[in-house]
């Protein structure tokens, strides 16, 4: 019940195309859903995040769509660029004892080809 399932495992997109990564969760106690971007040899960095009371959040080329009833959320990268090539992790947050525990999905390796 603590799992976050992420798909696809890897994704190849042409430059200018749309990249879509999907995640699903079971635990309705999750109250914060961030996406992290990780480049090789670097730590993850927060890309964008959403709370379950909002159905969509957009920041530049990055959009999170959230479907509370289906317990699914997705990341859309519009006009994908080679510089977007990285591993993307969705996550869900729960706060046992107030310390904010992130449950990560397995990750999606995105390659954007010129």
């Amino acid at each position: 019940q603590q799992q976050v399932k992420q798909s696809p495992q890897s994704l190849i997109v042409q430059k200018g195309g749309i990249s879509i990564i999907n995640c699903a969760y079971e635990n309705t106690a999750f109250d914060y859903f961030p996406w992290y971007q990780q480049f090789p040899g670097k730590g993850p960095a927060l890309l964008i995040a959403i709370r379950p009371d909002v159905s969509e959040k957009k920041e530049g080329r990055f959009t999170i769509s959230f479907n509370k009833s289906a317990k699914q959320f997705s990341l859309h990268i519009m006009d994908s660029q080679p510089g977007d090539s990285a591993t993307y992790f969705c996550a869900a947050s729960i706060e046992p004892g107030g310390y904010n525990k992130l449950i990560f999905g397995a990750g999606t390796r995105l390659a954007v080809h010129p």
Partner: protein, 111 residues
């Protein structure tokens, strides 16, 4: 400027030889986390500190210990590294919001 700094970036140790990884933060955040990330896998939480309160994840091996002498610094001690402990170790902090800020990680190799 890096806000969560991990040293060293690369660490090589021998099988069974204790090793310490360090993390420092300039954010004055009260929560610090240690994650283990193996190749092509998601980060896995080992433990965290809420101020000085230490919290171990249930499946974190006893071989892993941690110290937090003050707000700014946190250490990960691996008492007897095995080959299976070779991984990237990530430190993260959190302040009043939900955002966790990660360091660049320390890649540990065990020979």
């Amino acid at each position: 400027d890096a806000m969560v700094i991990q040293n060293p970036r690369y660490q090589v140790t021998q099988f069974g030889k204790p090793v310490t990884l360090s993390c420092s933060q300039t954010l004055n955040h009260n929560v610090m986390y240690w994650y283990q990330q193996k190749s092509s896998q998601a980060p896995k939480l080992l433990f965290h500190y809420y101020d000085k309160d230490f919290n171990n994840e249930a499946d974190t091996p006893d071989n892993f210990q941690s110290r937090r002498p003050n707000t700014s610094f946190c250490f990960l001690d691996i008492r007897s590294p095995g080959l299976g402990d070779a991984a990237m170790y990530l430190c993260a902090t959190r302040g009043g919001g939900n955002i966790q800020y990660f360091g660049a990680g320390t890649r540990l190799s065990v020979l």
